[in-house]
């Protein structure tokens, strides 16, 4: 069946999964549903000691069986040890047919590959997959469909019951003997535990894995003891050097600085740029350079940001420190400065992933955004974005909060260089749709800026602004005239992955990679 972004979703996939096709970013507005609920083991006896000596013990106590769904968060990013540690024990116990439901996965999880190949792991649900797991999915080694969801979509899927988590493993920088977890004060700080909150609330069994046991009670807790079954203390839950990278820096590359400047100029010319505006940005060099130059203009004009949202890095924290942001609302910390900021600054707050981006709660923070500055692997002439499938057809990126923020923000800006090497980032049709064009308002490249024709209001406002405006078709034509028109990537027949829209419908599928033949 063809969905509303023109992608053909095989009926077989729809039948097997029971999912529907994507019908528009706001199709489910006002829909009423019954929330799912976990099974809960009542801990009445005060003598129960939640601390267990090993992960293996925890798996046994949680009655691990073949076919279960295990969940993890990715706050430790490429420095995570928890997924590999747990799965190694699962593997040793001879358990099979496991589905991993992680908020995201990366190259740190390459050791999972043999477990996919031998049937220990048959399903992966994640915002993104990189490295060997991405390769395994693209080459058809995973038995079941890989399901890729955005941050908001993952929470929705759990809260609506599309996904049922049997055991949640939550890596906690600090934890007390009864399960109160915090994301700071330990040796592997990650700042916040936003993505793990829904796991703690909805999984049948919840295990805290920590490398820093602290005195009871560990308050204020990001995850409360009342949702935690067991606590396991290990030597290391992650590599601090890779959890929080060195300060995210603005780019020095002239091309990216140009795009950053276009972005800043665009933002300040919209009517949304006024005192109290809300803003989210990524950690790309251009986004950061744009944020910094925006900060200068905010200072000059006496305009304060009311809300800074999202994955947080140093530059936004600096603006907070400088008094240019009222409140910073945090779902993930990318660098040390961000972690220090949430520890020390009373205007820097942790929220849950549901509060951040779940489309089916009573209104997430993304809905309050004026601006979001995003990147993308590809954008097509209909403004659809691809952030997950590389130009070689391999699954290689992550949805993250891309579709969520795009749907929520009044002005969604995507910054992308026209060509990435020889590959045109602006094309006729993206390889895979992850964010629908109806939610993307502006695309900024080094060759010019395109405004979505749906936004006649923005086009009118920008009439007299001296920026290099072009249509997406013009940008695409320039790209093709320099690099040549690319052949579309060829795939095999078999569907290996589902790109699930944040509302649970299928926006696109990923097929098996095909060996290129001349």
């Amino acid at each position: 069946m063809i969905n509303s972004v023109g992608r053909d979703i095989p009926d077989k996939v729809l039948q097997e999964t029971g999912k529907k096709v994507f019908q528009g970013a706001y199709a489910r507005h006002n829909e009423v549903y019954q929330k799912a609920a976990p099974k809960v083991r009542g801990v009445v006896d005060p003598k129960e000691d939640k601390i267990l000596p090993s992960i293996t013990e925890a798996l046994k106590k949680c009655e691990i069986k073949d076919g279960m769904t295990l969940s993890f968060h990715h706050h430790f990013r490429e420095g995570d040890y928890v997924v590999n540690m747990v799965m190694e024990e699962v593997h040793k116990m001879g358990i099979k047919d496991i589905t991993i439901c992680a908020s995201s996965m990366g190259k740190a999880h390459d050791p999972i590959l043999p477990m996919i190949e031998d049937g220990t792991v048959v399903g992966i649900q994640s915002s993104g997959v990189r490295g060997k797991i991405g390769w395994a999915i693209s080459t058809g080694k995973l038995k079941n469909y890989a399901v890729m969801r955005s941050h908001g979509g993952r929470v929705r899927a759990i809260e609506e019951g599309d996904v049922h988590i049997d055991i949640a493993f939550i890596g906690a920088p600090t934890c007390d003997k009864y399960g109160n977890m915090r994301a700071t004060g330990g040796k592997s700080d990650c700042g916040v535990l936003s993505y793990a909150y829904v796991d703690a609330q909805y999984a049948d069994r919840v295990v805290a894995v920590t490398d820093c046991l602290v005195p009871y009670p560990n308050l204020p807790a990001s995850i409360s003891q009342v949702n935690v079954d067991y606590v396991v203390v290990v030597d290391e839950i992650g590599n601090p050097a890779k959890i929080a990278t060195g300060a995210a820096k603005p780019t020095r590359d002239v091309r990216r600085l140009m795009m950053a400047e276009y972005c800043t100029q665009f933002v300040i010319n919209t009517p949304y740029f006024k005192d109290g505006f809300s803003y989210q940005t990524g950690v790309g060099g251009a986004s950061i350079a744009s944020t910094i130059s925006l900060g200068k203009i905010m200072k000059e004009r006496g305009i304060k940001m009311g809300l800074g949202l999202g994955g947080i890095a140093g530059p936004l924290c600096q603006l907070l420190e400088d008094g240019l942001i009222e409140k910073l609302v945090d779902t993930q910390d990318f660098d040390l400065k961000a972690i220090e900021s949430i520890k020390a600054n009373p205007n820097h707050f942790e929220i849950t992933a549901s509060e951040y981006a779940n489309p089916m709660n009573k209104g997430a923070y993304v809905n309050q955004l004026d601006f979001v500055i995003l990147a993308s692997l590809e954008v097509d002439v209909n403004f659809n974005c691809n952030v997950v499938v590389g130009s070689d057809g391999m699954v290689t990126g992550a949805q993250g909060g891309h579709p969520d923020t795009s749907a929520g923000a009044k002005c969604t800006i995507v910054i992308v260089p026209l060509l990435q090497g020889r590959i045109p980032a602006i094309c006729t049709n993206v390889t895979t749709v992850t964010t629908p064009g109806e939610t993307v308002d502006v695309v900024i490249t080094d060759y010019g800026i395109a405004i979505n024709p749906r936004r006649q209001d923005l086009i009118d406002i920008m009439k007299d602004v001296k920026l290099p405006f072009k249509t997406m078709e013009e940008l695409r034509d320039i790209a093709y005239s320099i690099a040549g028109e690319p052949d579309p990537v060829e795939f095999g027949e078999r569907v290996v992955g589902i790109i699930e829209s944040r509302d649970g419908t299928v926006i696109d599928v990923v097929r098996e990679i095909k060996q290129f033949e001349m």
């Binding site: 070689d392 020889r422 040549g484 690319p486």
Partner: protein, 99 residues
């Protein structure tokens, strides 16, 4: 033109291509490795063959290791290798066989 010996032009840097030519007897035997094979594999092949045709090379073993080079760079590297294999560095047919 003939390919008189083994010769190479270009580097493995991003946006470049390394082209090696060797004498052949069986028409053009072309092998292409590319970082953008899926999208541009066919175009790369066509550009290399067209360039060889313009140089009137009928027999050669040609190896291309491409790192996302544009057409103009591919042509330059093929010409570079072919002329080098003939030891020719001046009085080149600019605008003629080289186009």
């Amino acid at each position: 033109m003939e390919v008189k010996g083994t010769a190479m032009a270009g580097t493995l840097e991003s946006s470049d291509a390394q082209v090696t030519v060797e004498p052949g007897t069986n028409g053009i035997e072309l092998s292409v490795e590319s970082s953008v094979l899926n999208q541009y594999g066919r175009k790369i092949r066509q550009t290399v063959l067209d360039t060889l045709a313009r140089l009137e090379v009928a027999n050669a073993k040609v190896t291309v290791v491409d790192k996302g080079a544009l057409d103009c760079t591919l042509k330059a590297r093929v010409e570079g290798a072919v002329f080098r294999s003939n030891g020719i560095t001046e009085n080149l047919p600019w605008g003629g066989a080289i186009k």
